[in-house]
């Protein structure tokens, strides 16, 4: 069992700093969510991990071995990205052959099964497929390749609701059959909230959160009630967002509540879902930056 360490990765594109000292650890056989707003640096980070681009500083290690230009390490990883790196003239079957040739193995029975379920014609040329089917072909490869670390960057791009649902089912089935590490980077947070065990939130190139989903949700609260009561109860707490509708106000708090404070009868406290928490955490930071 190997552990992937991302150590102090920073990346500049000219004067623009895309990643700032990102450090994270990916354990074997776990499903991670990589969340961030557009331009937060998620794709750049995944491209660096899989040796597609070079970091300005920092390194990526698989246990004690540096991943950079290491074929053994690279063959343990697969990145399904938005960018289509397969030749458009190649037939889908030929692409699968090529993957098998490169990785040494390929789960052909599963590939045929998934191609049937997603209605992919293996004799079709990759370039003739729609955006959705490009994603599907790459997803089939991601589930059939014998790598231990699978990175999925916007995996459901262009997929209709039925295909997205089918993909999530197949992802779980593949994970149950052969547990491995999946890192899912997506904007559709609600859809993956029940799949992922742990999340990394990146905002403006920095790691904002690196926590198990359960713990994260357990520390996030929506406190709703009449405005004066809510403001009094949340005073001094880490309020990351606020919404008002008429006389009713909701304050979103991230962190521990003060147990010594008495909760007013007019106030209700609920936990946030992952998407709401993400929105308020990242919005809060941007508003702070603007001020």
């Amino acid at each position: 069992m190997t552990t992937l360490h991302v150590n102090h990765i920073s990346q500049h594109f000219g004067k623009h700093q895309v990643l700032k000292d990102v450090t994270m650890t990916l354990e074997p056989q776990k499903i991670y969510g990589l969340l961030g707003r557009n331009g937060a640096g998620k794709s750049t980070l995944l491209n660096i991990i899989t040796n597609r681009i070079f970091p300005s500083s920092g390194d990526v290690m698989l246990d004690n071995t540096e991943v950079f230009e290491n074929d053994d390490c690279l063959s343990k990883m697969y990145l399904m990205s938005e960018a289509n790196l397969y030749a458009e003239r190649l037939k889908v079957r030929k692409i699968f052959d090529l993957v098998q040739m490169s990785y040494g193995q390929f789960d052909w029975p599963l590939a045929h099964e998934l191609a049937g379920k997603f209605q992919v014609n293996l004799e079709e040329r990759f370039g003739r497929l729609s955006t959705g089917y490009h994603s599907i072909v790459k997803l089939i490869i991601a589930l059939c390749v014998p790598a231990d670390y699978i990175f999925l960057d916007e995996p459901v791009l262009g997929l209709d609701a039925n295909h997205r649902e089918l993909f999530y089912q197949e992802l779980l089935a593949a994970y149950e059959k052969r547990p491995r590490t999946f890192v899912i980077s997506t904007h559709l947070i609600e859809e993956i909230a029940n799949l992922v065990e742990h999340v990394f939130m990146i905002d403006d190139g920095q790691l904002l959160a690196d926590e198990d989903v359960e713990e994260l949700i357990a520390r996030s609260y929506a406190i709703t009630g009449p405005r004066p009561a809510v403001l009094a109860y949340t005073e001094g707490l880490n309020v990351v967002g606020e919404e008002s509708l008429g006389q009713i106000t909701t304050n979103y708090v991230f962190g521990t509540l003060d147990d010594t404070r008495i909760i007013p009868d007019s106030v209700t406290i609920e936990h946030l879902d992952l998407q709401k928490l993400f929105v308020y955490l990242t919005n809060g930071r941007h508003q702070q930056n603007e001020h």
């Binding site: 597609r52 681009i53 690279l74 063959s75 697969y78 790196l85 030749a87 490169s102």
Partner: protein, 246 residues
């Protein structure tokens, strides 16, 4: 790494053969079929079909195809290999091995063609009266020449692959203009220093004023050094490859 690069080299070789086959079909259509049809339509005979030097033409097509492959398909190759967990080093090694595999039949066919047409191998005269060993040396020299030509194209190709579309366009337009200016200056300089230039060239080809003979060792060493430098340059450029956003 070797197993992976061997598998990839064979894949590259098969791919090149497929594309070369397609190029041959196009070539055959343009050079043979179309002129024959025109000939048939215009004069009702088949004088448009020219079979003379056909093997030489096929060889020229193979050489030009390989040069084009070395020049223009490095970034596509990089995309495919990096997507499939293959390092730049292994991809480069596989590419060189693939080109080596492709050069071998070209050189062999070229040798056979030269033997059939002229009764001797290309460069055979350079190595003395052609006997067994001399013919081997001539074939090896031809092979090395071919490889250094392809290695030069590979180095230029990998260099171009590092550039963005705009950068590539600038280089493709700018380099011939700058090259032409430099060439004119070079010719001028050479005309001024004819003796020195002649001495350098003589040293490269190993020409002796006393015997009026060439020493094949000099030119062989020059080609070998050129080959190694070009391979190192292509390796250096390939190690700098990264995904572009254009």
């Amino acid at each position: 790494m070797n197993t992976k690069s061997n598998r990839l080299a064979i894949y590259n070789f098969k791919n090149s053969l497929f594309h070369l086959g397609t190029t041959y079909i196009c070539f055959f259509a343009i050079v043979v079929i179309v002129p024959t049809l025109i000939s048939l339509i215009v004069s009702s005979n088949m004088s448009g079909m020219t079979w003379s030097n056909f093997v030489s033409e096929l060889l020229a097509v193979a050489i030009f195809y390989t040069i084009a492959d070395c020049l223009f398909f490095n970034y596509n190759n990089f995309k495919l290999t990096i997507q499939n967990g293959i390092s730049r080093r292994t991809a480069w090694l596989a590419r060189v091995k693939g080109i080596l595999l492709l050069s071998l039949p070209i050189v062999i066919v070229q040798g056979i063609d030269a033997l059939v047409d002229h009764g001797s191998l290309l460069y055979a005269g350079l190595f003395g009266t052609p006997k067994g060993a001399e013919w081997g040396a001539a074939l090896a020299f031809d092979f090395m020449n071919m490889l250094s030509l392809f290695a030069t194209a590979l180095a230029v190709g990998y260099g171009l692959a590092l550039l963005s579309k705009r950068g590539k366009a600038t280089v493709i337009i700018g380099v011939p203009i700058v090259g032409l200016i430099l060439l004119v200056q070079l010719v001028k300089a050479m005309l001024k220093n004819q003796e020195a230039v002649a001495n350098v060239l003589k040293a490269i080809i190993g020409y002796s004023d006393k015997t009026g003979m060439m020493n094949p060792l000099n030119i062989s060493l020059f080609v070998l050094v050129w080959l190694v430098v070009m391979l190192l340059l292509s390796f250096f450029f390939s190690s700098k490859m990264k995904l572009r956003r254009d």
